[in-house]
């Protein structure tokens, strides 16, 4: 399987929104190297509090407090340093603060559901948040999204850009979710599911989940000199 075959297709009819939004014509493939230029420099400062979604309001959000952390590496196994990691998610009741979310579940005044972090020299990131709830959507009758956290990452290269979703182990909604099931192979789907992390779980305070992320590196060229 090559890299492309492991990714979801653009057209996946079970996920209804792909039907009118996926390109019909094949993508144009450029020779190696045309997309080997640096990733954008994220133009906003990111502070330490940005990665703690539970401490941005007067009170604490309702829900199960969790720590989500992991390592960002490239496909050659090298840590991706100073990578910007952005997350957004529903609250514990399965409601997004977004004005387009009409699900009749309560908004939590102490939770806006968005955060940012930067990886350290080992590629590690860490968020403190609350476990998001499942929520219904209108894709098909009685459709529910499994609990997930949206992730957006910039690596070091333009090619490294990734927007994806992290899921929680054991969620019975995963096999029925066309967005997750759009990934062709089970191993690929499993890569979007975090692990319970007893090592980083903090006594009397919060469960931890671990999720490592692999980004595209530079296109391989035989002439590349080692850095």
């Amino acid at each position: 399987m090559n890299e492309d075959e492991r990714e979801p297709p653009y057209l996946y009819p079970d996920y209804v929104s792909t039907r009118l939004r996926s390109p019909v014509k094949p993508l144009v493939r450029l020779p190696d190297g045309f997309h080997d230029f640096p990733a954008p420099l994220f133009p906003r400062a990111i502070g330490a509090l940005d990665s703690d979604l539970t401490r941005r309001h007067e009170g604490e959000p309702i829900g199960e407090r969790i720590i989500v952390s992991g390592r960002v590496i490239d496909s050659d196994g090298r840590p991706v340093r100073k990578a910007v990691v952005e997350v957004w998610q529903a609250n514990a009741a399965g409601r997004y603060l977004d004005q387009n979310d009409q699900h009749p579940a309560p908004i939590d005044p102490n939770f806006d559901g968005a955060g940012r972090a930067i990886t350290d020299d080992d590629g590690q990131y860490r968020f403190v948040t609350i476990k998001p709830g499942a929520y219904p959507w209108k894709n098909h009758r009685n459709a529910w999204r499994p609990a997930h956290i949206h992730f957006s990452l910039f690596g070091n290269q333009f090619r490294s850009r990734l927007v994806t979703q992290m899921y929680f182990p054991g969620d019975p909604l995963m096999p029925r979710d066309p967005i997750l099931q759009s990934i062709p192979d089970q191993a690929g789907r499993d890569r979007l599911v975090c692990f319970f992390d007893p090592e980083r779980t903090e006594p009397e305070w919060a469960l931890a989940y671990r999720w490592d992320i692999v980004l595209r590196g530079r296109a391989a060229t035989p002439f590349e000199t080692p850095e």
Partner: protein, 179 residues
């Protein structure tokens, strides 16, 4: 032995709480000499506006260098969401030419990335400039595109701005590049 990549998933409909930021439309600071306004509409296969897309642009400076170090408000990167009419707009500047991997010269262009509900992977395209006809003719990327579709990659001058519509599907579908 390389590690398998983490697969992509859609940005979904609710990224508005996490991704947009103030003045995200300014890839360069408004008021900079040479600043220009790029405006476009994202359109689906029915011809309807896509009102929940996120567009990012990433451009080199006027010398053709990507600004990949330092800090500052405007780095050549811009990010905006489309409005209820599917319309987005940016403040950008015409970049310098950049070298292709084979040493040829690439005509000035902006890299444009599209995320939206219904896209399980993001799409990457390029916006070229209408007043660079000669450079566009010799551009190594445009020349890989079938002639009848090249125009989808070239902005149109419309009054004081450059118009660049993005058609995800259908007639005059925008050319997108595999990454």
């Amino acid at each position: 032995m390389s590690s398998p990549l983490t697969p992509s998933q859609t940005v979904g409909p609710f990224f508005g709480i996490g991704l947009p930021y103030e003045k995200g439309n300014e890839a360069i600071e408004a008021g900079t000499a040479g600043a220009l306004r790029v405006e476009g509409q994202v359109i689906d296969g029915n011809g309807d506006p896509v009102s929940d897309a996120l567009i990012e642009i990433w451009q080199p400076d006027q010398q053709g260098h990507y600004r990949s170090a330092g800090t500052g408000a405007a780095t050549g990167f811009g990010r905006v969401r489309t409005d209820s009419e599917g319309v987005f707009s940016f403040i950008a500047i015409k970049p310098g030419a950049t070298p292709a991997p084979d040493g040829r010269r690439q005509a000035p262009h902006l890299n444009v990335t599209v995320f939206t509900r219904g896209l399980l992977r993001h799409l990457v395209t390029r916006m070229y400039f209408p007043d660079e006809a000669n450079a566009n003719l010799e551009d190594p990327v445009l020349s890989l595109v079938e002639p009848g579709r090249r125009q989808t990659l070239i902005a149109e001058k419309a009054g004081g701005l450059l118009r660049f519509d993005i058609r995800l599907q259908g007639e005059r579908e925008t050319v997108f590049f595999a990454i």
